[in-house]
């Protein structure tokens, strides 16, 4: 390292590694109740993490949540973007994940055919 700019570049590079410990504005929330797990929530979770790693989306926080009651629509995932209503997708499979992440999380367009609900806070 020779200059202070080198340090700043390294800082930006390594910041992604500790990102999880800071508050993130974008969230993907996976329903991990018994119903969700039975319907394949783990596979969906793995697909989300793969996609995030592939696209290096370090500012997305992935959380789990328990059963919210519409068990027949599992696997349920929610996408929360800053300043927008929380969108719930139902009967999600691992194959739907790239589409949801590219269109909704990155581009900001809701994937209408998979939506089962919307929560405005």
């Amino acid at each position: 390292m020779k200059t202070i700019e080198d340090l700043k570049r390294l800082r930006e590079q390594v910041q992604t590694q500790t990102r999880v410990r800071q508050e993130s504005s974008k969230q993907i929330i996976v329903g991990m109740g018994t119903c969700g797990i039975a319907a394949g929530a783990r596979e969906v979770m793995s697909a989300i993490l793969d996609e995030i790693a592939k696209r290096r989306l370090e500012d997305v926080m992935v959380r789990q949540i328990g059963c919210i009651g519409v068990c027949e629509k599992e696997v349920l995932i929610d996408v929360v973007l800053p300043g927008q209503p929380r969108i719930t997708y139902g009967r999600v499979t691992a194959t739907d994940i790239p589409k949801i992440i590219v269109e909704h999380v990155i581009q900001g367009h809701i994937v209408k055919e998979l939506v089962v609900g919307k929560i405005t806070e």
Binding site: I4, R21, L49, G66
Partner: protein, 596 residues
């Protein structure tokens, strides 16, 4: 590339390691692999979080959920419930005293909420063995700023303006000290970090070195640049193996990145660091003894002047500061002297880290702004006195400090106010005592510490403390005589004015401060041959009153078989055999046993 959706922070400070955090970590690693979560959940070992009482501590991100007293057997629940399903494990949450409600996020816990964590900001939140964790939060940028945009005088001016004072005990203005070392001409100069923390009950510097070592190294390098030194020593006691290990890793990593070494940031400034392990003599915390020890000589103080800034290590101009002082420096450079000076009181700026120990609910580390009251530290942050006991005194400043009574709880905690009441800031150990602590006994304890640690070079300290200790021992054993108090005062005054080094000069402080605020306890020991707190075994006697129903519980409880009596008849205690442990009194269902 893998994406970790969750980070599990496990405290690997000395406190949590001794309560079992390494086992927790091993179990967690194993179970994450079993569950196939090892590629998405990352384990991070951190330094001390400060809430040592509650250890082992585990924090789960992104939620920031704070788990306490986590044992190996709890790991399955954390993995299965939290990391797999996203459900918080309620039973492992911290419960606030009073409300008993579980608090998931550590930021909402009173112990943390009421602190101001600047020095400890990273402790417990970064991996101390990973320099990138420090760089990610802006580490080494202060050094970069100083080297590339400021000249040495500007750095010193900034430190002067910030009002930073030495955190090792005396509270000497750091900028002024740096200025002296800069002004002394010389090709070769040294920076020394005094990490010979030796006060009973003090562990601030240790936690800082174990939890955020780079911050201290960065502060030292900035100091080196300011005074014109190209070499630094960290004097760490050998009893701190973990701190030494992490410092070695930190120095190596910083050297690999060129942050310590030659021509740092292309500025032409060279700075090299070495670690010197101290053998654990308390006196080596005194700066001249410390330097003698680095030079390979016997660790004894010499008289000053010349001060280290003029003739220090190997006769060269040297600047010595303590760990916490250096840790303050990077922030002063990055955020500016004005920001720093806005915290604290008129003459005591910034924050101070205290190690809370003794009869207090939350043993641990607390960082607070200068000028806060002792009551806030002990009650709001420390959670008050356990077991419904009454507060009696707080010892601040270690063996060189003093005991303060309840009347002084509302005074401002800053350098000058503490000196006025006969105590001192010291390095920041706070030992809280309740009504069961005898103040004569406690001053005997501190004096026996300084007496044992006296290097023996000067007579007042070597002989004087010994004589004082003899008198105190006599008093606590019920052999006190008229005139003992006055004799103690004379001896104390002589030692204070004639001892060679700071440690000797302050050694009588615990006796003087307890005499000032708790003289009646000394008098009770001498005149009435009784110990009001019931702590001095030589002056206590347990007796069984007529209330005794002869149930025999006490006879079973007594570890030395000193109690005898017929069934359903009055029992008696054999005073010759009794060791005054109090076990019988605690057991008696009829409160028939009295202490006097």
């Amino acid at each position: 590339m893998e994406h970790y959706r969750s980070h599990v922070l496990i405290c690997a400070g000395t406190g949590c390691i001794s309560s079992g955090s390494k086992k927790v970590e091993a179990a967690l690693r194993e179970q994450l692999t079993q569950k196939g979560l090892d590629k998405e959940v990352k384990i991070v070992e951190t330094g001390c979080h400060g809430f040592c009482e509650m250890g082992p501590l585990v924090i789960v991100y992104p939620e920031g959920v704070f788990y306490i007293h986590v044992q190996e057997t709890d790991v399955a629940d954390i993995v299965e419930e939290h990391l797999y399903k996203g459900r918080i494990v309620e039973r492992l949450l911290y419960k606030e005293i009073g409300s008993h409600e579980g608090i998931p996020n550590y930021k909402d816990i009173d112990f943390y909420k009421k602190q101001m964590r600047i020095i400890l900001a990273n402790c417990g939140h970064i991996d101390p063995e990973e320099i990138n964790d420090y760089i990610a939060i802006g580490g080494y940028e202060a050094l970069g700023t100083a080297l590339t945009t400021m000249n040495p005088d500007e750095v010193i001016d900034e430190v002067k303006k910030s009002g930073l004072r030495g955190r090792g005990g005396g509270g000497f203005p750091s900028g002024l000290k740096w200025g002296f070392a800069r002004k002394t001409p010389g090709e070769k100069k040294y920076v020394i970090c005094n990490a010979d923390e030796g006060d009973p009950g003090a562990f601030m510097d240790r936690s800082l070195l174990e939890g955020d070592p780079h911050r201290v190294l960065e502060g030292m390098a900035i100091c080196g640049y300011a005074i014109g030194a190209d070499e630094g020593y960290l004097y760490v006691r050998a009893e701190y193996p973990l701190a030494i290990k992490r410092l070695r890793i930190a120095i190596k990593q910083a050297e690999e990145l060129g942050l310590i070494g030659d021509n740092i940031f292309g500025s032409g400034f060279n700075f090299h660091l070495k670690i010197k392990e101290g053998a654990g003599a308390f006196v080596c915390g005194e700066e001249t003894a410390l330097m003698a020890s680095i030079e390979g000589q016997r660790g004894v103080p010499r008289s000053r002047p010349p001060f280290p800034a003029v003739s220090g290590l190997w006769g060269k101009p040297t600047n010595i500061n303590n760990v916490e002082t250096f840790a303050n420096v990077p922030q002063i450079i990055t955020k500016g002297a004005d920001w720093y000076a806005s915290i604290g009181t008129e003459h005591s700026k910034g924050t101070k880290v205290f190690a809370l120990t003794g009869r207090i609910n939350h043993t641990g580390l607390a960082e607070v702004p200068m000028g806060i009251t002792m009551r806030q530290i002990i009650y709001d942050i420390g959670g008050g006195i356990p077991a419904g006991k009454k507060f009696k005194a707080v010892q601040i400043g270690g063996p060189s400090g003093g005991c303060l009574p309840e009347e002084l709880l509302d005074m401002s905690v800053d350098y000058d106010s503490l000196i006025k009441v006969g105590a001192m800031m010291g390095s920041g150990g706070l030992v809280v005592m309740d009504e069961t602590t005898c103040m004569v006994d406690i001053s005997k304890f501190f004096l026996s510490f300084t007496q044992a640690e006296s290097c023996g070079k000067c007579t007042p300290c070597r002989e004087g403390t010994k004589r004082m200790l003899e008198i105190l021992t006599r008093i606590t054993e019920g052999q006190g005589k008229e005139g003992d108090i006055e004799l103690l005062e004379v001896l104390a005054k002589n030692i204070k004015t004639t001892a060679l080094c700071g440690l000797g000069q302050t050694a009588p402080n615990p006796v003087l401060s307890t005499l000032r605020y708790f003289r009646h306890e000394y008098e009770a020991h001498i005149k009435e041959k009784c110990c009001p707190a019931g702590a001095c075994t030589g002056l206590t006697q347990y007796n069984i009153s007529e209330v005794c129903k002869g149930c025999g519980l006490c006879t079973k409880e007594c570890p030395v078989v000193a109690i005898s009596g017929e069934k359903k008849g009055l029992h008696i205690i054999d005073q010759e055999k009794c060791i005054k442990c109090g076990a019988c009194m605690a057991k008696c269902p009829f409160k028939a046993i009295t202490k006097g």
